[in-house]
């Protein structure tokens, strides 16, 4: 698996995977739907899979001494690494914002506020992308665009729902600065991270199963 992951980095990685990590800094923009940064994370996965397809990567890698199912797992793990890096960078940016910005700038009117709970919601959005994109892509690896469009549509629908919920009265505590309602926000963060892990593991399992049946 180590060799597969190193191969993903050396031969398959698309520059956007690293570039889009900088979008974690979106949280410094006042009144902006920060959730879109997670769409760009999905876009970098799309570019990575498209580049791999153009390079004939799957057929090449499957001829190496690895199990076929491990090939799909390696790419999902690499995507997962970048997603975790994005969440971590977002958390760092949020901490800086909470420490340096005045309270009135910490509440986001265009979407969910950048705080601990937002990271949990972001993890949920990333997981939802994984669950739709990877099993569809590894069902027919020559198809990258259609799985991405469907996954992005699901992601935007969830973003819409999350922004809508943000304006409901019961969700108000989640949009406050971090020092208020910490317990609730931590619970949302943990729930988001647990759900992300569970959903991504399910996505990996389905993808591996689908890829075993694929004729390269």
């Amino acid at each position: 698996m180590k060799a597969l992951i190193k191969k993903e980095f050396s031969l398959c990685l698309h520059p956007t995977a690293a570039i889009f990590l900088t979008f974690a800094a979106f949280v410094f923009v006042p009144n902006y739907p920060y959730e879109v940064m997670f769409f760009f994370s999905g876009l970098s996965v799309f570019f990575m899979c498209m580049a791999a397809r153009e390079n004939g990567d799957l057929a090449f890698t499957c001829a190496l001494p690895v199990k076929k199912c491990e090939v799909s797992l390696a790419r999902i793990l690499v995507a997962g690494m970048f997603q975790c890096a994005l969440l971590l960078l977002t958390a760092i940016c949020i901490a800086v914002k909470q420490a340096c910005f005045p309270d009135e700038m910490l509440v986001n009117l265009a979407g969910n506020s950048a705080n601990l709970a937002f990271c949990g919601l972001g993890a949920l959005l990333l997981g939802s992308f994984n669950l739709v994109f990877f099993p569809l892509h590894y069902h027919r690896p020559e198809k990258v665009g259609v799985p991405f469009l469907i996954a992005a549509a699901v992601q935007f629908m969830l973003i819409g729902i999350l922004i809508l919920i943000r304006h409901l009265p019961f969700a108000a505590p989640l949009c406050s600065p971090d020092f208020a309602n910490v317990g609730l926000k931590l619970a949302v963060l943990l729930a988001g991270l647990v759900l992300y892990c569970m959903i991504t593991a399910l996505a990996a399992r389905l993808s591996m199963k689908n890829f075993e049946k694929v004729d390269l």
Binding site: K6, G56, K67
Partner: protein, 274 residues
């Protein structure tokens, strides 16, 4: 010992069924996989490598592919129709990535093969000619100590001199104990290097035997009329400039058949349902 054992290999497509195929290649042999376009040669090689899902058992030097996929693949060097991967990457980057998968990778051997095959490692894959791509694939395969080479039409697209070089390389590898199974349409290459022929027609195994035995079994005979050919049960009779020609199995009759002629007449016979 068998380098490759294939048992009941079967792949069903909506309009084509491969197999079930059962054949084997002994260690140190060069075997040619022949058949017309669409006969199932590439499907067979891909099924052996599990690049496509299929039924059946494949063993490589006794290792069951379904149980020890990684270990079995370590013994194989697979070249599927030229090297069309990572066109914008330098050869050195591809080789470095590949080397990590093989515990027995020999970097010195790779450098030696690169020098022997005149490969410039700083070049990008797309800058290589078809012949050089094949040589790069072989250098990769041989540097990890592949004991069995599976090559899918490695000589298609090569000029006659490059094909000669390729055949020389195969013979040299055979001298080192490497086993080769390669598919090709160019039977003259096989006449030069092959010990064994695995002949597919319409997805079915038509012959699996030593090349010499196959060549000795059939003779080509010319007939003045179709009825003359039918009288001696000639196989795969076809019209030629001044009569008819078919295969006969009488050792003293007719003239020696080439692999091309055997293929053509057997395909005619298949078409006639004989």
């Amino acid at each position: 010992m068998y380098a490759l054992e294939v048992e009941h290999l079967k792949k069903v497509y909506p309009n084509f069924t491969l197999g079930p195929l059962t054949f084997s290649v002994e260690e140190g042999q060069i075997a040619g996989l022949i058949g017309r376009n669409g006969a199932g040669k590439s499907t067979t090689l891909k099924s052996i490598m599990r690049l496509i899902s299929s039924e059946g058992v494949v063993r490589v030097f006794g290792k069951d592919f379904s149980r020890e996929e990684g270990a079995a693949k370590e013994l194989i060097g697979y070249v599927g129709g030229g090297f069309r991967f990572y066109p914008d990457r330098p050869l050195s980057a591809v080789a470095r990535a590949v080397s990590r998968f093989y515990p027995h990778w020999d970097e010195k051997a790779f450098q030696r093969y690169a020098e022997e095959y005149s490969l410039i490692l700083s070049k990008k894959v797309r800058e290589l000619s078809e012949g050089m791509k094949i040589k790069f694939s072989l250098a990769l395969a041989l540097s990890h100590g592949a004991k069995l080479l599976l090559l899918d039409e490695p000589t298609s697209g090569l000029d006659p001199l490059s094909r000669e070089d390729f055949c020389d390389t195969l013979l040299a590898l055979k001298g080192q104990g490497v086993t080769v199974l390669f598919s090709t349409h160019i039977t003259s290459d096989l006449m030069r290097v092959a010990d064994r022929i695995v002949y597919l027609s319409g997805g079915a195994l038509l012959a699996d035997e030593p090349l010499d035995a196959l060549l000795k079994r059939y003779r080509v005979k010319r007939f003045s009329s179709r009825s003359d050919a039918d009288m001696v049960w000639a196989i795969g009779v076809k019209a030629v400039k001044d009569g008819f020609e078919g295969l006969v199995m009488v050792p003293s009759d007719g003239r020696e058949a080439t692999l091309d002629e055997i293929m053509i007449h057997l395909e005619y016979a298949q078409k006639e349902g004989v």
